[in-house]
């Protein structure tokens, strides 16, 4: 069982890196130390009308500085509240949550789509293998430059303003790429397409899923997805995304 903490973190850096997308570094007590790529934290709101914590993936980990980096899009009231906070302010968080990505030594695709791109950054840093990073953007290429340090980066944009016009699979095809393992996070249609692509090409495929959460620690059964096999904990064909996930072998879950 991975260890989790509820802490009061301090915002040590914050900026808007793209339209409505914020980049925030938090100084933690122990969470940075415990965190792995692909795990997430949940952020509590200060406003009393919003009680449930907001799950946000860990984008980068700086164990020396005891800090974690979160990149999030303003999607509603909670993320709006966070986006208005400033350096030096405190924020209650819980984490690290979930399992995180496995790190295999195989030629890899790291695939991120939209707001699914940030969690691939720490993975890119920690993976020790040949890394082909494929990023799908709507238009603005946030975080793009940072990925270039860790592998060869391919881009797809919806409007064709950069890289391949289309989606990440279009970019893979256009560049004639292949790999032995896929790590992916992004919108459901992208993950579904990757699952199919991986099955057809018999590639191991790891996807990070999302679901509405309440507890974030596996107690409420709010965040399940259907699984191929009976889950050992739930004793039914449901896996808890916050606990057994958010990263699953694509073939083992329905989404």
């Amino acid at each position: 069982m991975s260890e989790k903490k509820r802490e009061t973190a301090i915002i040590i850096r914050k900026e808007e890196i793209s339209y409505g997308i914020y980049d925030m570094w938090l100084r933690t007590e122990q969470i940075a130390e415990l965190a792995k790529p692909g795990q997430f934290v949940s952020l509590y709101c200060a406003d009393g009308s919003r009680l449930l914590p907001r799950p946000i993936s860990i984008c980068e980990i700086d164990k020396n500085d005891k800090a974690i980096r979160l990149v999030y899009r303003v999607a509603g009231k909670g993320t709006e509240e966070f986006s208005k906070m400033t350096t030096g302010m405190q924020l209650d968080i819980i984490g690290p949550l979930g399992n995180g990505f496995p790190t295999k030594k195989k030629k890899a695709f790291l695939i991120g789509g939209g707001i699914g791109i940030p969690p691939m950054l720490e993975l890119a840093k920690q993976l020790d293998c040949e890394k082909q990073i494929v990023l799908g953007y709507r238009d603005d290429l946030f975080l793009y430059e940072e990925f270039k340090k860790y592998g060869s980066v391919y881009v797809a944009t919806e409007d064709g303003s950069a890289g391949t016009e289309g989606n990440v699979l279009d970019a893979i095809r256009e560049n004639g790429l292949d790999a032995e393992v896929i790590y992916a996070c992004g919108p459901l249609p992208m993950l579904r397409a990757l699952k199919e692509y991986a099955a057809k090409n018999q590639i191991e495929c790891w996807v990070s899923l999302e679901e509405r959460m309440a507890c974030g620690i596996g107690a409420c059964l709010g965040c399940v997805c259907k699984s191929k096999n009976k889950d050992a904990h739930t004793n039914v064909n449901n896996k808890r995304i916050c606990k057994e996930g958010p990263v699953f072998l694509a073939e083992e879950v329905d989404f």
């Binding site: 009393g48 309440a214 596996g218 409420c220 709010g222």
Partner: protein
């Protein structure tokens, strides 16, 4: 200073319990809370066989609370007995097993299976709004409340808590029916049926359309129902619904509850149950109250 309270002959170290379904069987929260510090752990509802529950989304946030439509997913009584009870037995707290079913026979089967188990009490959930069969249907009609209570009591070796639904015109009718059926304790309230619609997608926020509303938003309704029930029956009451702080827990006791359960607040702060126990202690000290039982129903 005495923090102990008595529920149908079972003595709790303090009145703070966990609300069924919000705390699993305690394992996940044991990283954050010392379970030994709680009056009792009430487990997620368990049925005679494993249930898959409802499709997702199963939870949605609302103003000052949340909706859930988990649909009573549970691993079934076999795995529960094999895994969850032994886990809880490691702690010095009382074990209350919440029981659900689709028919009276289902409930009785679970209750019978638990008869020889080291559990302290049974909480019978006849008030879940999120399942089609069983659940709330049992809890909205006094005749069926009385009937199922009687049936369950035949098989139960432990004291029986009947958990009532707030989605009724008159909670005291249900309370009296449970009393007439032989219930030892009442617990209230379960969730209020609510709905949320995503106005951008123009779709229900929950796959189940409706869900059970919980959290501080429902607290005043819970306090009212606990008060009314305490006036109407002689059974001890476990009060719940929106308890977020020690003050809320004390309010519930003043209204007439002997013990309290904390649910949704666990999602807002996983350490909250322990903090509520400490806060209640501080209140007693400040108010120079020697025995927490003096609070029960003490509102003027």
């Amino acid at each position: 200073m005495n923090m102990k309270v008595d529920l149908a002959g079972v003595t709790l170290d303090n009145p703070v319990m966990t609300a069924s379904g919000t705390f699993g069987s305690g394992e996940e929260f044991s990283e954050f809370v010392d379970l030994n510090k709680l009056g009792a752990v009430v487990t997620k509802g368990v049925a005679n066989i494993p249930w898959e529950g409802n499709p997702t989304p199963r939870v949605a946030e609302v103003y000052g609370g949340m909706l859930n439509a988990i649909g009573l997913q549970n691993p079934g009584i076999d795995l529960f007995i094999e895994r969850d009870i032994p886990f809880l037995k490691k702690y010095d707290t009382k074990i209350i097993v919440n029981v659900c079913g689709k028919s009276t026979a289902d409930y009785c089967e679970v209750v019978e299976r638990l008869a020889e188990q080291p559990v302290d009490m049974l909480e019978i959930n006849i008030s879940c709004p999120n399942v089609k069969e069983g659940g709330i249907a049992f809890g909205q009609d006094p005749k069926s409340v009385e009937a199922i209570t009687k049936e369950v009591k035949k098989y139960a070796k432990q004291p029986v808590i009947m958990k009532l639904s707030p989605n009724v015109t008159d909670i005291t009718e249900m309370a009296k029916a449970a009393e007439a059926g032989g219930a030892d304790v009442l617990s209230l309230i379960n969730t209020l049926t609510g709905m949320k619609i995503d106005i951008h997608k123009r779709k229900f926020a929950l796959a189940n359309k409706t869900g059970g509303m919980s959290g501080p938003a429902i607290h005043p309704i819970a306090v009212r129902m606990v008060y009314q029930t305490a006036q109407a029956v002689r059974l001890p009451i476990i009060g719940m619904g929106g308890i977020l702080t020690a003050e809320d827990a004390i309010e519930m006791m003043l209204a007439g509850a002997t013990a309290v359960s904390v649910g949704t607040a666990n999602f807002h702060n996983p350490k909250v149950t322990e903090e509520i126990v400490a806060g209640m202690q501080t209140y007693l000290e400040e108010q120079q109250i020697a025995d927490i039982r003096e609070l029960i129903g003490a509102v003027q």
